[in-house]
């Protein structure tokens, strides 16, 4: 449903067309009309006041007359014309007039609703071609006043149309807008000042009433409120206007304004619903008995169940939104004489919400005939399973009692729990339940998740035959947002806090990405509840919960640093190259490539769903590939425990997939899954990647592309906060030969791709990596630098023991000379230092020649290492 507004057809104030109905806007833009409006408003206020005064005076006069008549025992006063009767007669007339006006106003309030809800009304009127809707009449009083005030101010400035500036600032004075601004974290007074300082121009100002009408229809509202008018103003803002730029800077889009409006209106509608519920719930009798007096008390069932209709009446069931369509379908299924219904849906997506909603409807009898005059009773399975010896007997007796009562609709949530419990007869409780339902006259609703349905319910004999399935509809992102907003309002009332809209948005985004288990909106609501309970206000003032608070909680839960969550890690990225260069020798080009790629990936240009970054490190053994990964884990992630190193040669056998993803039904997770669950923000090092099976390579094709994997149990694990580094020795000879012959890096890479790499990896896999980094073989100079670095580590260890030792340049030369091996890279250096230098120092320490407080230097001569002590 949309309104076509064409500029030719919609000059200022002329009728517009909406699906056969003429739309016009009666508020004329001239001072005399505005004065007339104010005058009429004043007259209305005065006349209302006068009429109410008349009513009051009339009632007083009547009371006085009654007292007098009682005293005189003469009741004919009203039929004898006299002065004192005039106020009473006027009061009677006034009250009739006031009643008439109130009813007229109520009818007007509903006109927009009728227009939206009643298509027949639209068609009939369009046939007659007489229907005209005056949009100004649908404006509520605040919107009317704001519009007229803005028009007045604009006319005083001799403007040809009302200025958007004045409209915006007048609207911002209203309570609705103040609430919306608070939710979006804006100070409405500051916004008014900004608007007044920065003129906002739009050629589409005359279209405002029509656009606000369209928004009102979209939000199903009865009238056009200041908020809708404001949303319309935001919609027509020119892109280069100062206000538009301000909203872009604050990241407040027009959609956000509309979403906040929907939140505020939904809360109002819910209040109306609660009032209606209270009125209609009087129709339902209290206790076990039904209106038809056919019910039988159920004392045994009451011990193992909760009466949801009764809980709804007491206001103990949570309010939920977004499941109306599912409820309608459920009603249809019951109306078609289906006795047993299975609600299938992921945990947290609204299965319980739907059942609770049904309880509210049953309490007010707004249900099909087959559900009328009945109670919705939830069976507490834990109570039955808690008596394993008697569970069979208990279940049978419960079902018999429920069937005998005749007014019970039974609810069993998470029915799969029953399939895991065995009875003495060897049957599962679920089989017993299904068998009993076949022979009983009862109505029941059971719930389960899709996985449990396949694993347990489908396999249970007769289950699929007797239960009619209803799969929960997937909520749209807008519906999830609105449901979370409404729930947030309920949390606010319990925890004395106020959620910013951005906090709710953030909770949905982060819980989607990083929290597993339940579905949306439950996941986001749990996060909001946790944040609210941890953000305790120190005084009576409600605490404001921002997106940062949500990030902090999620950071605590997932070990992901807050600056990574909000993308504020610039400093870390800028210094990373320097830090890596200090630890890794001879790989300047490789380090540069890694850092640049990481910067690119984290600057917001890369996809949010893919891993943080992914690299394929190529090069001979011992050149620092693994060391780069370890240093990255330490410097970028903060701790080495964020690193998970998988030796891919272990995934070469037939059980590779099992080792990586686990098996269905197994209780424990394999190392990769366990690590990803505990540390979603991590570095995954896949050593000797080429040795893994092709299936594993194919699995990583998906991981590198989508940033997620599915375990054997069917859990979806996100790797979007994971940095993946695969190392490989493939093409080592090409690299060594290339560097020896003096080719540059690009030439070597091209040759590598053409020869060695395509033989080892599929081209699509190579393309999935953000960057392929080639590590160059080490030179004798690099070996020296590595020796210096490792001797420094040794010095640090001795320092910790209180021994200050230095090494002469001869020692370094000796290590470089003896440990240099172009085939093995830097590894022989470590081994040489260990076998010669460390052994020499160990002897000194054991012979007490090197004690605490000792200072000296170690040199090498023809006889071997020598310690020269210093005073």
């Amino acid at each position: 449903m949309s309104i076509n507004i064409s500029k030719n057809k919609t000059p200022w104030g002329t009728p517009n067309d909406f699906e056969g109905i003429n739309l016009n806007f009666s508020a004329a833009y001239n001072l005399s009309s505005i004065n007339n409006f104010y005058q009429a408003l004043k007259i209305e206020q005065y006349s209302r006041f006068t009429l109410w005064s008349l009513v009051f005076i009339g009632i007083t006069a009547l009371l006085f007359q009654l007292i007098l008549s009682f005293y005189n025992q003469d009741w004919s006063f009203f039929f004898v014309p006299q002065l004192l009767n005039i106020p009473t007669a006027l009061a009677l007339f006034s009250s009739l007039y006031l009643w008439a006006k109130q009813k007229e106003q109520q009818a007007k309030d509903h006109s927009l609703n009728l227009l939206y809800l009643n298509p027949v009304w639209q068609i009939e009127n369009s046939r007659k071609n007489t229907a005209t809707v005056d949009i100004f009449e649908i404006f509520n009083l605040q919107a009317k006043l704001a519009w007229q005030k803005a028009s007045e101010l604009s006319l005083q400035e001799n403007l040809s149309v009302p200025s958007l500036n004045h409209i915006l600032s007048c609207l911002l004075e209203s309570l609705d807008l103040k609430e919306a601004c608070l939710r979006l974290g804006i100070n409405s007074k500051d916004l008014i000042k900004f608007i007044n300082k920065n003129p906002t121009i739009s050629s589409r100002t005359p279209e405002l009433p029509f656009i606000s009408f369209e928004i009102a229809l979209k939000l199903h509202n009865k009238s056009i409120d200041p908020l809708m008018l404001f949303c319309a103003c935001v919609k027509i803002l020119e892109e280069n206007s100062a206000l538009s730029k301000l909203f872009t800077k604050l990241e407040i889009s027009q959609e956000k304004w509309e979403a906040v409006s929907a939140w505020i209106f939904t809360l109002r509608i819910l209040q109306d619903d609660i009032r209606l519920f209270k009125k209609l719930s009087k129709l339902k009798p209290t206790g076990d008995m039904n209106v038809g007096l056919t019910a039988v008390p159920t004392p045994f069932l009451d011990r193992f169940s909760t009466d949801l209709t009764w809980q709804a009446r007491l206001g103990r069931l949570p309010i939920s939104v977004g499941r109306h369509e599912d409820l309608e379908e459920l009603f249809q299924l019951f109306a078609q004489n289906n006795k047993y219904i299975l609600i299938k849906g992921e945990e947290g997506t609204g299965r319980s919400a739907l059942v609770n909603e049904l309880a509210f409807k049953m309490e007010t009898e707004q249900v099909p005939a087959s559900l009328q005059d009945k109670r919705l009773v939830r069976l507490e399975i834990s109570g039955i399973l808690g008596n394993p010896q008697k569970s069979e007997v208990i279940l049978e007796e419960l079902l018999n009692e429920a069937a005998k009562s005749g007014n019970i609709v039974l609810v069993v949530e998470d029915i799969e729990q029953m399939s895991k419990a065995r009875t003495i007869s060897g049957l599962s409780l679920l089989e017993l339940f299904t068998d009993s339902l076949q022979s009983l006259s009862l109505q029941a609703i059971v719930t389960c998740d899709p996985e449990a349905y396949v694993d347990f319910l489908q396999k249970t004999p007769n289950f699929t035959q007797i239960f009619t399935e209803h799969e929960l509809k997937t909520l749209t992102p807008d519906q999830i947002l609105l449901a979370a907003c409404v729930k947030a309002s309920l949390i606010e009332s319990h925890h004395n806090c106020i959620f910013l809209f951005q906090a709710i948005e953030k909770s949905i985004a982060l819980s989607n990405e990083l929290l597993r288990g339940v579905g949306q909106p439950q996941k986001a609501v749990q996060l909001l509840t946790e944040t609210a309970s941890k953000s305790k206000s120190k005084n009576k003032e409600p605490i404001l919960i921002t997106a940062e608070e949500i990030e902090k909680i999620i950071s605590d839960k997932t070990h992901i640093p807050q600056n990574t969550i909000n993308g504020d890690e610039a400093q870390k990225l800028l210094t990373l190259e320097v830090v890596l260069s200090q630890s890794i020798i001879g790989q300047t080009q490789a380090i540069k490539a890694v850092c640049e790629s990481l910067k690119r990936a984290r600057s917001g240009l890369a996809s949010d769903t893919r891993p943080l970054a992914s690299f394929l490190f190529l090069g001979p053994t011992g050149v620092g590939k693994t060391e780069v990964a370890k240093t990255l884990a330490r410097e970028y992630f903060g701790k080495e425990e964020f690193l998970l190193r998988l030796d891919m040669s272990e995934f070469a056998g037939g059980d590779a997939m099992y080792k990586l993803l686990g098996a269905k039904g197994e209780e424990f997770d394999p190392p990769l899954i366990k690590h990803l669950k505990n540390y979603p923000y991590c570095l995954l090092l896949l050593d000797e990647f080429e040795k893994a099976r092709t299936e594993i390579h194919n699995l990583f094709l998906q991981i590198l592309d989508d940033g997620r994997l599915t375990t054997a149990k069917g859990e979806l694990i996100s790797l979007s906060h994971c940095l993946i580094i695969a190392t490989s020795n493939a093409g080592t000879k090409n690299i060594q030969d290339g560097f020896k012959s003096g080719k540059n890096l690009e030439e070597i890479k091209t040759e590598l791709f053409q020869n060695a790499l395509l033989k080892t990896f599929a081209p699509e896999l190579l393309n999935r990596f953000d960057s392929t980094v080639v590590f160059s073989p080490l030179s004798p100079q690099d070996t020296k630098a590595i020796a210096r670095l490792q001797l420094k580590d040794l010095q640090k260890k001795l320092d910790a023991k209180g021994i200050k030792i230095t090494f002469t340049e001869n020692v370094i030369e000796d290590i470089a000379k003896n440990a240099f091996d172009p085939l093995l890279g830097g590894r022989p250096v470590r081994r040489y230092i260990q076998d010669h230098v460390e052994n020499f120092i160990a002897d000194l320490l054991l012979n007490k020649k090197l004690n605490k407080g000792h200072k000296g230097s170690i040199d090498i001569t023809e006889d071997g290492f020598k310690l020269k002590s210093q005073p």
């Binding site: 009429a40 007339f93 009739l96 008439a100 009813k103 009798p285 038809g292 056919t294 039988v296």
Partner: protein, 111 residues
């Protein structure tokens, strides 16, 4: 109320057209609510069933007569509500001319 004098003059027209429609609708809603509250429709649906699940012969006989008595009381309460609503509707029809008449009456010279 923006054209107060005109509104006063047009009140009788509104009263017997749109106002009457609203009053009839209200009356109908009120009566339906009463019928629903009494549960007579649900009660009638179960007229053949015994009370409180007592399927014995005596239970059935007692239930039948008890249901008849209860149906009578429910019908009586609905009728009473209907009558009250009818009185209100009739009052609606006469109250406007009555209020004008009584106002004019006060200005007539006393006998």
């Amino acid at each position: 109320m923006q054209n107060f004098p005109l509104n006063i003059l047009s009140l009788p027209v509104w009263w017997y057209s749109i106002g009457l429609k609203i009053a009839l609708k209200n009356a109908e809603q009120n009566f339906s609510f009463g019928v629903k509250k009494s549960g007579i429709i649900l009660f009638a649906r179960h007229i053949g069933e015994p009370l409180y699940g007592d399927y014995t012969r005596t239970g059935r006989i007692v239930s039948f007569f008890l249901r008849l008595a209860l149906t009578f009381f429910k019908l009586a309460s609905i009728s009473l509500r209907g009558m009250i609503i009818l009185i209100f509707l009739l009052s609606y029809l006469v109250i406007l001319p009555f209020s004008i008449l009584i106002l004019v009456w006060q200005f007539l010279p006393a006998k």
